[in-house]
Amino acid sequence: MDFNDTPQEADYRAQVKAWIAANAGEYLNPPAKPWALDDFVARSKAWQAKKHAAGYVGITWPKAVGGQGLSPMHQIIFNQEESRTHVPTGLYSIGLGMCIPTVFTHGSPEVAARYVPRALKGEEVWCQLFSEPVAGSDLASIRTRAVRDGDEWVINGQKVWTSFAHKSDFGIVVCRTDFDAPKHKGLTMFIVDMHAPGMEVRGIKQMSGGSDFNEVFFTDVRVKDTHRLGDVGEGWKVALTTLMHERLAVGGKPRHAPGYQTLMTVAAGIETDSGPAMERADVRQRIADTYIADEGIKLTQMRALSALSRGAMPGPEQSISKVVVAKTMQDMASFALDLSEASGFAVEPGSDLEKLQGSYMWSAGLRIAGGTDEILRNIIAERVLGLPGDLRPDKDTPFSQLKPL
């Protein structure tokens, strides 16, 4: 057992390091103040284009769709090196992390040829149009309707919580195409043009103050049947591909989110009534707890990497990641703000404490986004441990016959 790169991996890492050193110079430190949205989008596009030109996009994807055809280890090495900098990347995490893999797995070769390369270059941004007001955890209850009209489909309905819809060019949307089938059986997935007639995107402001997600309204939006992903009625299966990628894409701790090191830095500067904070047993225990959680997840990911570099599938232990990471962020931030007393309450732009305040607000959303803590625990209990599922009274009834409770 070791953490060393194989000789090939070491070569790749050296090459990536050199490239990043030569190209990410302006991003070695965090921005003095957060980028405005349009600036963030422009910078993200510029950085993605640079990566594309140098062959650092779609690292694990097949060459046939414009990827590099390399191993997951290569992707990880690139991510590790990239994450030492503060380059803007979040704009593409949903599109390249979840939507595009769904597009090339379930779309026709023509569709893949049209969309994948431009997404890889970063020219087109994608969003995930799954959740609806009445269907989040229970995604298969969505009501947005797609009706066939010749070689087109007409979509009506509403999506919600769609991250970056306001900056997206395309999205993948799951719709109900058969109301007489049971809920999981009547769904179909499509690619939709966010600028098509009948699309309306309205921003939703988050509790934390920013506005990253949206409501999206569909009024007679037309989609060509060629833009269907998977068979009619197979939308649930297609969605599961996306969700599998989602858990990989959003599972870990967000880049540069405060962790045990931040807590140690904050604590080191605090003198409390019962002595220096760093000498207090409760503070030391909290640092230890945070380390165990954050590093435990990192090491768990390394187990997955080792499996991947052997060509095997990662084990079920990956499923613990987001449940641990999001709640640890919330509890650590809360503790650090507590310890900082009045200075943890006043907002001082640019400070470590402001980052912790941001983390305290954002972690509340992270515990919900991409599968809530409760749903992820159900998945662990049912799919990993084999416990029986909850009773699902609505599972086999035709959707049109379900009665409102």
Binding site: S131, V134, G136, S137, D138, S141, V160, W161, I204, K205, Q206, M207, S208, G209, G269, I270, E271, T272, D273, S274, A277, R280, D282, Q330, S334, L337, D338, L339, S340, E341, A342, S343, G344, F345, A346, V347, Q357, Y360, M361, A364, G365, R367, I368, A369, T372, D373, E374, R377, N378, D390, L391, R392, P393, D394, K395, L402, P404, L405
Partner: protein, 365 residues
Amino acid sequence: MNFDLSDDAKTLKEAARKFLDARAGPPVARKVMDSSDTHDAALWAEVVEQGWPAARVPEAHGGLGLGTDEACVLAEEIGRSLAPVPLLSTMGAIEAILLAGTDAQKANWLPKLASGQAVGTIAWAEGDAKSPTAMPSLALSGGTLSGAKSPVADGLVATVAIVTVASADGPAMAIVSLDGVSREKVETLDLVRPSARLQFDNTPAEALGTATDWVKLTEQLAVLAAWEALGTSDAARDMTLAYAKDRVAFGQRIGRYQGVKHKLADMYILSELARAHALHGCWAWSAGAAELSPAAAAARVASLDALKYTAEESVQLHGGIGFTWEHDCQFYYRRNRQIVSALGSRSYWADRLVRALEQRNRAAA
């Protein structure tokens, strides 16, 4: 044994609940958040009209002469309704003067505070990581004060502040008219209860009591704040409970799932534990018992635990909608941070609790 609030306090609580249900609550909090107002002035006028600031002020000074039970229920109902009025800050200043003021100070300030002519607040924090009982940097010298306090809750609207100052025996208090004192808004996590930075510059100030009085006052304030936190926490729980009975996922009300049910049950457990300690604190305060030290600290710790858990899990159980600006969850999530910072954090009070228990054991030995 009668370990319960007085009947008068219960009657007042009911009246206060009814009034605040109609006049305050999240929509009123939102109005203040969306404006540049320091508080809801019309509501404050009505609260004064109700006589609440006068509750604890003796009749001789123009007040109602009510007990600690009444003060506690008012704190609870203000906490529940999130009413954006400086009542609790004013009540804190009144308690300081009742506890430590000279006859002249009482005669000067209590009638004004009782009638709403003056608005009070307590200013101990200095923008750093110090606790309420750490030595302040400000000191009284020749009847004046210089230096800053921040963040001060309701500091934009207060007209008089109880300011902590350094003394040979530890932090002590001074009473300061804020006439002409420069102040600015401090950005904080709570968008409904604005805080200020007060800048004193050779500002006239009078000593108020001794260092021992300040420690005692923090215990009384801890009891009041515990009731406030309980009210806030219970409001968040009630809102979440209603949602769990209504929201459907997988063909069932989410309240049917044990993962949801147990969280609501835990909110209740934490709240009732805190309520028992808050009642104990209320009793010890009114009885002038030495037991106030551990009782107040326990009430503070237990109420902070209830509020943190309830505020966080309320967002969680609402799902995506709970994480939006438009939803009321954020008021409780943010207010939790305000209540923590207003009087010292959980670990600070847990430490005070154990110290108080040690002292009690020594005294018994």
